[in-house]
Symmetry: C2
Subunit: 449 residues, 2 copies
């Protein structure tokens, strides 16, 4: 069977790489979070590999609730560029690759975010993406006048209204609203200006936005929540879904479920691009791949491993339990419920001790790890892609820049040889490369004075 679909690829690029010990890798740039040349290098490498986009995760705080100063001092990657400023700089130093930033609907105002993403979309000529998150830590809440984060349901209700306001603001001006008629003195056609006048539970926003409609209509909306609320949100709003699965079965079940949820509310399921995370450790031989993996695993500081696991479990304190014993039963959390469940189930299924569990999640953090040759990795990606577990993948290089170079130089050519991945960018915008149509201007009433 000839596969006519093409795989989509995102590059997940925290400065040192995805593995928790990446910053200790001999090749890594440990201060890469503040080093624009490093980001330019890895972004241009991803562009050379014809990736659809790079992807920056984000939070609005630093967790400092560790047991003591020594444990705190061992946490890497606490500091880095703010993503929208960094992507603005990358927008004018790259040509093709999409630029997706994470931003929270819980601690922002829709006018600011709608405006900044519109500005990024103009600077990049239509290559912006927004990974919508509702945030998951009290450390963030405490930077915004709160003691603890709003509960899960409230965060998602606010997120939904936030999206309505943002989409409304992006429709402030029609694409051809501006006349620039020097002769008559008419700057724009007022029948193509729309005033939002939104009043809702969380927001009262009049509009219009003080920037023209983004070239893509709006940034590509990316979402990664996998809880019930998260899936309902994704089915309604997301155009790209980042997700985490360990097996093809799980991936297929999610793929079918999310596409049919989208279809049930009237969306075209092809316009929801499902991209599970994959942590690839590439070797020229399997032995080399395993050695590279083990040498990174050996760099895991035990206190950091335990801290990482605590975070993945929604900040449940497990420090009182023996690390060589099993995970205790977990209470309900207001953090990321889906991630907690995924990690917990994995531990139960495999009968892992706490230590074994944190070692196993330190690399891929709940995402699928593939350790092997370019052929091994291409085989697995092909299987998931062809059997509808994925429309593409969010590639999480273990360390940077080496882990990305390996993927671009060794795995991408193999995917291209099999006809699974592009050899040239199809379009000029992120939306075009992802096979998504530009949304029609939302119909609403023009300004009336």
């Amino acid at each position: 069977m000839v596969e006519s679909r093409k795989m989509k690829l995102g590059a997940f690029l925290p400065a040192p790489g995805h593995h928790v010990a990446a910053w200790r890798h001999p090749e890594s740039v440990p201060n890469g979070g503040h080093d624009f040349e490093h980001y330019l290098n890895i972004t241009q490498t991803a562009e050379r590999g014809k990736f659809d986009m790079i992807f920056l995760s984000d939070g609005n705080g630093v967790r400092t609730h560790y047991k003591n100063e020594d444990e705190l001092s061992r946490q890497g990657r606490m500091v880095h560029f703010e993503p929208i400023t960094l992507l603005s700089a990358l927008a004018v130093t790259t040509k093709h690759i999409g630029l997706t930033a994470t931003a929270s609907t819980t601690y922002n105002e829709p006018f600011h975010l709608a405006r900044k993403f519109a500005s990024l979309d103009h600077l990049s000529n239509g290559r912006s993406g927004w990974n919508v998150v509702t945030s998951v830590t009290d450390a963030e809440a405490q930077n915004f006048n709160l003691d603890q984060q709003p509960d899960h349901a409230t965060r998602y209700r606010r997120a939904g209204e936030f999206m309505e306001v943002a989409h409304g603001l992006w429709g402030s001006w029609e694409d051809d609203a501006f006349l620039y008629d020097k002769q008559s003195g008419r700057f724009f056609d007022p029948s193509k200006l729309h005033i939002l006048n939104h009043k809702g539970e969380f927001f009262s926003v009049k509009g219009p936005l003080n920037i023209a409609r983004p070239p893509q209509g709006h940034p590509v909306i990316v979402q990664a929540g996998s809880s019930a609320d998260g899936q309902a949100f994704a089915a309604k709003w997301a155009e790209v879904i980042f997700t985490a699965h360990q097996s093809l079965d799980q991936a297929q079940a999610f793929y079918t479920s999310i596409k049919s949820q989208a279809e049930r509310i009237g969306r075209n399921p092809h316009e929801v691009v499902v991209m599970p995370g994959v942590f690839p450790m590439v070797g020229r031989t399997r032995e080399e791949a395993n050695e590279k993996y083990e040498s990174l695993q050996e760099l895991i500081d035990p206190v950091v491993g335990l801290g990482l696991l605590t975070g993945l479990l929604g900040d449940v304190d497990i420090s009182g339990y023996p690390v060589d014993g099993p995970l205790p039963e977990l209470p309900e959390t207001q953090g990321s419920t889906s991630r907690q469940q995924l990690v917990y189930e994995e531990a139960m299924k495999k009968g892992l001790t706490i230590r074994q569990l944190y070692m196993s999640v330190a690399g891929a953090r709940g995402h699928k790890a593939i350790i092997g040759t370019p052929t091994d990795i291409a085989d697995e990606l092909e299987e998931w892609f062809v059997h509808k577990g994925a429309d593409g993948f969010n590639i999480m290089p273990p360390y940077l820049p080496g882990g990305l170079h390996d993927f671009v130089d060794l795995v991408v050519p193999e995917l291209q040889r099999r006809g699974l991945f592009r050899t040239e960018y199809e379009g000029t915008t992120l939306r075009e490369n992802l096979g998504l149509v530009k949304p029609a201007h939302p119909s609403s009433h023009p300004v009336k004075i």
Copy 2:
């Protein structure tokens, strides 16, 4: 007398230029607000002219309260890039020039703004500036859950607390906090991490900031408020003060007053750089300069002129008064009280009709206009500079790019010839070029767990 001080120069760069009819000028780029190439061109021109910085004004809304759609449609420059994203892109495509963005303390959260300016400072290797404003329109308030803006005093009280929080957050990490010690696994020295734990009237912010201390310690703080509250704020926080004066007398009085206010609260008056705005219309002859000015004046649409005047008067409705009669007495406003007063006094002093007044403010908008040859302009700048009316000037080209090219090619060489202006950048950061010292790390207690 040999003048040892050097003049500082900022370039005020709204996309079409400062004159209200600039976008209708035959040379102007009317869609320049969304055209990165246009901004790169004018910023590189300012850098070629050894300007200390470019300066972007900003607001978080579009005024739509005009009498009818036709009047609305004649308002230019309603849409443009968001400044911090635009300056991030310019940070990596320029080398020397400072990059100053306006941002409001009334409609932002300190964690976000402190973080974004820190990120811009890292991207530019120490060339960021922040023009702190408290905003002046209800149109902005209505995009942020309010019906009307908070009153003047409340806005300034919030601004003061905002600055305390922002400065505290910029001190989260000492300059040498990061060890990046791959061998021992220690990422940073915890004795050099500071937790803010701010709790005040408007903000409760724990910190720390998730980005390293900015290369400049913090962005250069710019301020333009001239009311009593504005001056008190500037004396306390500002490192650069943008101001507006029509005569050397006025400029000297302000210069002396603001420097002594700063000195009284323990600051070095040399570290408050006073830069009045200047609107230069450069001609190779005086006749040419006058002709260029008149040809721009002829492009002023009467409804736009009247609307501009209304805005400068704090949105006081004067539409019921005959345009060829005098300005009525004005009620108190919650907008920019200092600007209202300046414009009102100018009208009274010269006995201007409403029409004469809007024609006179359409170009320079309350700032000093100098229409003449490069020698004329250099003479006036030199007089203000030498006689302590100014430490430098915020140059407001009437139209772009032409008005800036004229200044850089004709006036800057004349200032350099007289020894008043640099021929090479003195330092690598904006702070160094302005002659400002990097602030010491604020003393506070390191993190304790």
